[in-house]
Symmetry: D2
Subunit: 145 residues, 4 copies
Amino acid sequence: MRFTTHKRVRFQHCDPAGIVFYPQFFYLLHEVQEDFLAGIGFPEHVLIAGGAGLPIVDLKTEFLGMCRNGDELTLTLELTRIGNTSIGMHYEVYGRPTAQGKASPIKLEADAVVVYAEVPSGKPIPIPDGLRAALLPYLQTLDNT
Amino acid sequence: MRFTTHKRVRFQHCDPAGIVFYPQFFYLLHEVQEDFLAGIGFPEHVLIAGGAGLPIVDLKTEFLGMCRNGDELTLTLELTRIGNTSIGMHYEVYGRPTAQGKASPIKLEADAVVVYAEVPSGKPIPIPDGLRAALLPYLQTLDNT
Amino acid sequence: MRFTTHKRVRFQHCDPAGIVFYPQFFYLLHEVQEDFLAGIGFPEHVLIAGGAGLPIVDLKTEFLGMCRNGDELTLTLELTRIGNTSIGMHYEVYGRPTAQGKASPIKLEADAVVVYAEVPSGKPIPIPDGLRAALLPYLQTLDNT
Amino acid sequence: MRFTTHKRVRFQHCDPAGIVFYPQFFYLLHEVQEDFLAGIGFPEHVLIAGGAGLPIVDLKTEFLGMCRNGDELTLTLELTRIGNTSIGMHYEVYGRPTAQGKASPIKLEADAVVVYAEVPSGKPIPIPDGLRAALLPYLQTLDNT
């Protein structure tokens, strides 16, 4: 199952060329992660208050299309792996179709690996069973890869 | 040859866990790119004013160690490729040695591909000869790979 | 009439003390301005594409309470003045009541003056009639001051 | 005595109109505060590690001129008041003279009040004597007001 959300490109995301300045995409992806975790019942701020965070260790991003101020984006998240302490996350960002009947153009694809870890030491700890069960429905299966 | 610069982790880079929030690293890497381009005589704001920018198309990052408020960082940039319209950039970020005689711990390694492109269309254009000549000394050679 | 919207404090807004780092409040206030302008039929990105922006010239802010990661905020905007080229904006930010029956605690109060201006020169120009008419219902009256 | 520092407007500070997006000025002012505190021997990250911070409670800003990507800025800080628990700070930001013999144009003037406070409770505490003594030379006197 894919977690899907929608966000609008804001003035604050855009650079003097009028397009999203690339680090800003990672704020948007982190918002998707926050929305996802809140949606499955484990809000990130509650995890952190409980002494655990999800620091990132690896990130691969392809920037496939420019996004401009005011663009409506669709962002999806699927999990590629749920390990003992780490989670693989696959993000896709789509713009609006440029004409009726056209497909939504892909703007960005990213693969992140985050680690469930103690805050503030950063020491990886096993993903608790409750969180693992809530993550599982979003694990990519062979069919939709 | 490596381009080397130094930056301090600022309050504004850090998150509630007291460490650099990962998108902030990309602001630092972009500052390195700006400092590099200014250092070789092609300040980015002059390029942009002249109608050309360097949008990113691909980025791979390994986050290898946490950085905290006040940390002194050493950041290096080397070019992995100078194509017709694209440039491969390799970044490394180091912290301070934790004790005398110890090596500087690596905190982050990143490989970016940027494209020399018209602003605002984003259409790739050949890297001009002057810029190419200024980039060349920073191209990674087999010896230091 | 007050324009009212709701936003959640995000991880990205918070600093090593776990509270909103103050410049981040201004991103939130600018989001309110964007949401307001879109709501009255004059999306900011359309104004800018048409050659006009709303640069700020004066800003007074009182920070009245700390906001933390995950806090649900209510943000209101009312206009204090609609001049020939300038607009006075009054913002209030409220948190959630700490107990049933309690009032929402105020977190921030801000007064901004923005100018309707040519982009990119920044030269003030008269507010067009259509925009003025759409702004008018949000002008503070004596009764609710 | 005025604390003076220099910063360059970066790509990341600028918006689609090519000018500094106003919340970014507050990152620059906070950098000035950090540089100042480090310069007088009380680095902010050391204060915070010791359980004290300087949250802002009041801020008045006049935006007097637009700043663009690549601009070299001079930023000054003077103290307007050193109270029992609070400090008044006066910032000025100047651009480069537009021609030889001309004065540096002022771009921004800001007055902030910060409070010496426990982290994370935010409870104001008296400014310690050592910090007070280090601040004192930067207190505005009648002569230079």
